[in-house]
Symmetry: D2
Subunit: 388 residues, 4 copies
């Protein structure tokens, strides 16, 4: 197995984007439990994200959600971010919280609604032009609840048309990232339910269109690392939305539900060239946890990604290839498991210290007084929520 | 196969309780889309439920949710219901929408919160004493999102204690109905996740404790009709919450996702003595549909239950038993399918007419002008929502 | 809704291929229960398949499995089939029952084994040249049981290479049909696990490569009719393997587990142009039932497809489109359900009689004495099994 | 967190029974791949199991399967085992591989078959009386493939009757262990599909009846550790069948698919008093791996259980309870994760050496020459298979 020292240089390439909306209140359909100190505007969200980066060094950028993070002056917002040591990242479109979108957006049967959704994508691209963001991420809530409710075949054509219109507005350095999701909020069919659908549309659009893989958006039992390997092979893995889940789209802390799965995913990312300075794969968290404190929850998640990346980097590729080519099932498996079971936590703590970061970012945050400070300061105004 | 005339007398026993909360706005965590004419108070919910009963003759009672349906004078509410041709039914407790309950209610680690939850159950029983309701239905959102978050073993003891306290307050004719749910809103563990847990607690409590089977609350692939048969055998099937789902707890119209499953469930209900004048099994809808009109959605659901009950009653039991006892797999299956594939819709329409009901309740409702009337009248005030 | 008379002419296009291996013994890993009268060679399998066609008129061709159905003289076998009123159809390759294939075939780490698997595909194509079969169907058992066991990325390259070699041998009128399967017999990863993977390979190969959709080969909850619609849209739906399942790949009688799903699938087939004289989509059964009689099980399956096709043809497209375009969720759903709930069985019986077929094919078979005849005649020799 | 030295004494209580059938050939319905050196009789199976114990010190007993392991003289077999350093353990009944059992055994519609199955259980109990085995384990393949095929309600009564007859034959120190399984080989319904059913029957039978939890026998997403906690609470957890799976009942090496789940299960075992000298919970492997070498696969499995037990013992219970009682979700989770992420492998190697065992049992086995020896010696005769 590789030693930690051997892989340490590669750890420097790690950058995990944080979603601005992760710092607002969120919940289930049963209840959104409010938390103290929750941000009230995009600046406060960015400040919170910057705090995560301050103690981890792993989260240098913040994704925005439009219209949740609409501001009058994006240059100013960008400078605010820079002043806090982070930059603005992916622009996420939202075509699911307006009454018009109840029955769809890009796939709605009414041309007026489809045009409105396309106009929203145009607006997002204009914001990207200002913020310098590379990626427009499109997740659609489009789908139906009942068989017969809509023409699922025709909706694919409308989807292709709408995506094409947005794609054609991209500058050469920009990308359209199409996310897929197995189900929810639609319960019978979803218009982009699987990687195959996202891939087919991206392939038709062109080289600037890529697939977003959200780790929580698959059918039970799906082998996600296979999809990683396949999309990398096809040149179409654009980005990750990391989170974890036991059941549906639970949006739990990355690696909380199945750490070994996270390890396997990261192993295939590395194996397939998706990690490192030459890769254009974007790594982002997308988890809306409900009951735990927001900022520490994000810190824990980026640390989990970092720890698992280290373990995945430790895999002894030569020994693994030799066992695989010998057909030695048990030996090959054991080589992989050896890396997974290696406890990298204290090596990583030392590595962080060597880079001027806290050995224990969770403790550093707790001791920083930031939680108490924002709880005291952010009184009045309306708390940002998931969807506000 | 039996003829429709032979089974018609049995159809008269059908009574499906409607939940008051089905008429308010509801949605997913992504968005609650408001509808025109949605009720603003318990009386308006009852009026809507009564409308369903008026056109179907199948829904003579309305379940209340406390505190959503709290009123000062339950006698008056009961008279209001009676004036509209329905009566008040099951009282549903709610220990999931108060901030105190974020980490549990009857299973919370803090004695104060557990006591508060028990006090709420006492309050519900007092309301039952006034309304004359037989059943206290307890569905708990209790659970955890992360391994280690709580002591799942200890929580079972607290659960048993809390239930015991409520059970001991029941009058002899009252029942405690304990619902189970596979997951959601908790994502790692749920304190009453399966029928076995609900059964074990009800068995410990005594004869007045029964299990509620919600058709949407099972792991993928679960054979629900088996559970029906088992609970009937054990004397512990208290009630049904009917709805349907493709994935998780989608809360779609009964029979919409898998009509054959609904048929099989109703067949086992009848087979096991759960249907008819001698049965104490309660039938209720519990679906919170999001995008279709509220009242017609309920009408469609009770009609679906009615149609499937008719089909299930049509099964030729003697022929089926003969084929089963001969080990003739294909013949036995075909006898069951013959009943399922029989189109009972026009016979049921005639039957409804013979009882002074509309042949087509969906059309009768549409033509009644009620939708337009409530949309016009119910302006101002705040719409009842799921959770309000 | 359309009337039966209106759709009857379209029913004449229905042709469902039967798999030769469905008539042999099959079972689970726990036990294969032998049946009386099971065929001992390809001719007897064809004779049984022909019997299904004789009483249904729906099954004019028989798929072969190589090497299970290897014979010295395929011309002679073709004439035998023709004499029995059927023809030889799809050639199914088998690269999973030789010791060499324990760790893979086209994706095996050993070049020798990969070459052997390609050679087998060549052999199948040569047989196709003799039998006049259009389709080479490739289902691979390739996959791994343990993380790390093999290089799943590299295996995709080997897969692409192997498929390309076979594809290049096809005559212009021949097709390569690549089947996908979620899991089993491999338990960790499968090399062609989903439609997306099959599609990506077929797209790379060219126009003569198409996807086979086996209705039992998906993750729990997958919306199969969506995949039908998508593949038809992409011009890549080559064929169906029909069966049904409650859990994994149960291989039950078509429509037995979820008749409404079968209806929705057939509706999307028709909607997307996959049914009728202009379509090249092939319909095949692929079910290996274990405990029911073989021939009646196949008869029941083709009848189920026939009945559901009739229901799907009955959908009133104009009314449906109108409701969909009005955003009337309940009305649109009801229009679809009206067709599903229509009892077409007696109309179909009359239609069969009008074509010189038995009104009740199940009864006709039972009365034919064929079961007793083959049980008496097929003594000695070794029964064909699934895998022999 | 506890130190390894603190928990080391508790590790000595660990004993994992091995199934004799794990050493024979096994496979899927697609193919059973034979291996060199596979045992040809019960003695050779015991010798192989003893080899696992020799290098691990963790597997002191061997479970037998009747009739697969029937011998004329069980005393002699017991002495053979003792000579090899192990003893005979649980007796597993088999009522699924005789033609009579195609449609059921204890639940068969034919009294004759039910009586035959009961007689088999009697035979097993007689063997137990000779071998001194404590446990009769009953796993039933009983179930149906099609709705209507059998009367699932009545079958519960027959099941109860049959179990009662066997239970009444038990000596006071003997136990009846009833295993449940979600599905397979039956595909529509299983007569003991879930822990609730097994529990209800065991509760009715009496104190000597307990539930067997096979980790591979649950619906997707089931929280198994909850069931562990619940059954321990109810005093009904009799034994474990350990294995792992990604999809259905894959029968992979314990901990191979989801090591964190194994950790959580073992944590609840310890938490609930199921581990240690005062516990009567039996731990057994039950995995029938297909493609990897038999003996090393078993060694790897017992080592995985051992490693995870050590990690679960390391959990700092006081700190965990404090965080739980403070409602600190993230801290509580982290305390659990800290134990999971601790690398115990070298401490365990030292501990083994201190007990006179090899530091690396996998290497010790490989170097022992046993594999080569049995491959050379066990020529001729028929290899034991799963089911033979």
């Amino acid at each position: 197995m590789s030693s930690f020292d051997q892989i340490a240089p590669q750890l420097e390439h790690q950058a995990i984007e944080l979603p601005s909306w992760a710092f607002g209140n969120s919940g289930t359909r049963f209840r959104v439990f409010p938390q103290a100190g929750v941000p009230r505007n995009p600046e406060e969200k960015i400040a919170d994200a910057a705090k995560v980066n301050e103690v981890t060094g792993l989260a240098p950028s913040v994704a925005l959600h439009i219209p949740w993070d609409k501001v009058d002056d994006y240059d100013k917002l960008g400078r605010f971010a820079a002043d806090h040591g982070v930059r603005l990242g992916t622009i996420n479109s939202n075509t699911f919280q307006d009454d018009d979108y109840m029955l769809g957006s890009l796939t709605h049967h009414d041309q007026r609604v489809r045009d409105k959704a396309v106009a929203h994508l145009y607006e997002c691209i204009e914001i990207m032009n200002t913020t310098g963001s590379r990626d427009l991420k499109i997740w659609l809530a489009d789908g139906t609840n009942y068989p017969g409710q809509a023409d699922i075949r025709q909706r694919q054509e409308w989807l292709a048309e709408g995506l094409k219109k947005a794609y054609d507005k991209l500058a050469p350095q920009q990308r359209l990232i199409l996310e897929y999701k197995f189900f929810e909020p639609a319960f019978y069919h979803t218009d982009v339910p699987d990687w195959g659908t996202s891939y087919a549309h991206c392939a038709a659009l062109g080289d600037q269109a890529k697939v977003c893989l959200d780790t929580g958006h698959h059918a039970p039992g799906t082998n996600i690392e296979f999809i990683v390997a396949q999309l990398l092979r096809l040149g179409k893995l654009g980005s990750f939305d990391f989170n974890s889940r036991f059941y549906a789209d639970d949006d739990l802390i990355v690696g909380a539900a199945d750490p070994f799965q996270l390890f396997r995913i990261l192993y295939e990312v590395i194996r397939g060239g998706g990690y490192g300075p030459d890769s254009e794969v974007a790594f982002m968290l997308d988890q809306c946890h409900n009951i735990e404190a927001k900022i520490p929850g994000q810190i824990r998640s980026v640390l989990n990604v970092s720890e698992m990346t280290a373990r995945a980097l430790l895999v002894d590729h030569d020994a693994l290839a030799a066992a695989q080519n010998a057909g030695d099932v048990l030996a090959a498996n054991q080589i992989l498991m050896d890396a997974f079971y290696t406890d990298v936590r204290s090596d990583l703590a030392d590595w962080r210290v060597s880079r001027g970061l806290p050995a224990d970012p969770m403790a550093a945050y707790a001791e920083s007084g930031y939680a108490e400070q924002i709880a005291a300061e952010r009184i009045g105004g309306s708390q940002a929520g998931w969807g506000a």
